[in-house]
Symmetry: C2
């Protein structure tokens, strides 16, 4: 959002949030999410409403220790990160490549499982919102260049009305204890539980780069 040339959906973003009647705290969430993500991606904006809804259903505030599972890697994971400190790096966010637009949020627990709330885009409800529906289903009739602003306005006006939720139970993951192991190939140390076939992952199946000389 701080980049030089603004696209249509970026220009007037803040004014549009207000004009479409989005209240606090979601209006601030939307702005912070778009800044972090570096674009006001539609899925991210819906994600901000989803996280706000999940917090309310749990009776939680963003400063509590919360955990989440996002069922898609696309856009949605940035909403719990920005809004509720549920981040990739602090281990409270898990992202699964399922491809459903859903997020499950729970409080910290010392039990093996925790009660959680799963908030999702409801495919029955979405039909009432034609632009969101076209975008969401990746329809060829949706043109992001000409319809981006209308989509954003429909998302702001719709808010939670395309969402549903269910109560679920999720497993609680505890920190693994570890010892460092030296990889015989690269000589670097990795935690013992990440060793694959006697080597670190980068010297095995997770190799992702070539050295340049």
């Amino acid at each position: 959002m701080e980049h030089g040339h603004l696209r249509d959906d970026e220009r007037g973003f803040g004014e549009r949030i207000q004009a479409c009647g989005v209240n606090e705290p979601v209006s601030t969430y939307l702005t912070r999410c778009a800044e972090f993500h570096s674009a006001p991606a539609p899925g991210l904006l819906i994600g901000a409403f989803m996280v706000d809804y999940a917090l309310e259903l749990l009776g939680a505030v963003p400063t509590e220790k919360l955990f989440a599972v996002c069922e898609t890697p696309k856009c949605l994971p940035d909403a719990p990160q920005v809004i509720a400190h549920i981040t990739t790096g602090n281990g409270r966010l898990k992202v699964l490549s399922i491809g459903r637009f859903a997020i499950t949020v729970n409080r910290a627990s010392d039990k093996p499982t925790a009660e959680a709330v799963r908030v999702y885009v409801d495919l029955e409800k979405i039909r009432q919102f034609p632009i969101i529906d076209q975008w969401f289903s990746n329809s060829p009739t949706f043109n992001k260049h000409t319809m981006g602003v209308s989509l954003q306005e429909e998302i702001f006006r719709t808010g939670r009305n395309l969402l549903s939720y269910e109560k679920v139970r999720v497993p609680v993951k505890f920190k693994e204890s570890w010892k460092p192991v030296t990889c015989p190939c690269c000589g670097e140390t990795v935690p013992d539980y990440m060793v694959v076939d006697g080597k670190c992952g980068a010297c095995g199946p997770l190799k992702y780069y070539e050295k340049l000389l």
Copy 2:
């Protein structure tokens, strides 16, 4: 960091950054990273120095379109997210469970590969810094309750001095085109390329919750 009861490593965090002579922009990065992560985790603080170094080596600024691979899920991934808009949700961040404390950063490219810089904690250099060394190697001599502040000070004073880098080449990933497929089990739609054995992942191997009635 906004939570009620501050731990020793949180109290005086900002003052310690200054007292240890950390300059801008890293001093601001450190504060923003700790706030996002909700704790000034040692690995995150080192990560802020690593991302700053990677940007300088690339001659890049945080507002450019950049990509990164983190070789550990622990703490480090939050540094590129906060500093350079390389986020889980915008698809520019990849996290691999290798367990090495390293990050590879590259610019956007329309070629199949991109030149990148890999910045890592250098196991030879780290020996000069005894508290960091004990913490990093998960030594039983490191006590996070009594040594947390000293560790933080050593990290701030050490800065880049425990890091090394190498130039590498990484593959460039392009967006996949997709069509929605309705899962025969749950009735929800997912992108075709995420379907597993004719079902969505949540109705198959990625199932992670039980419904509560």
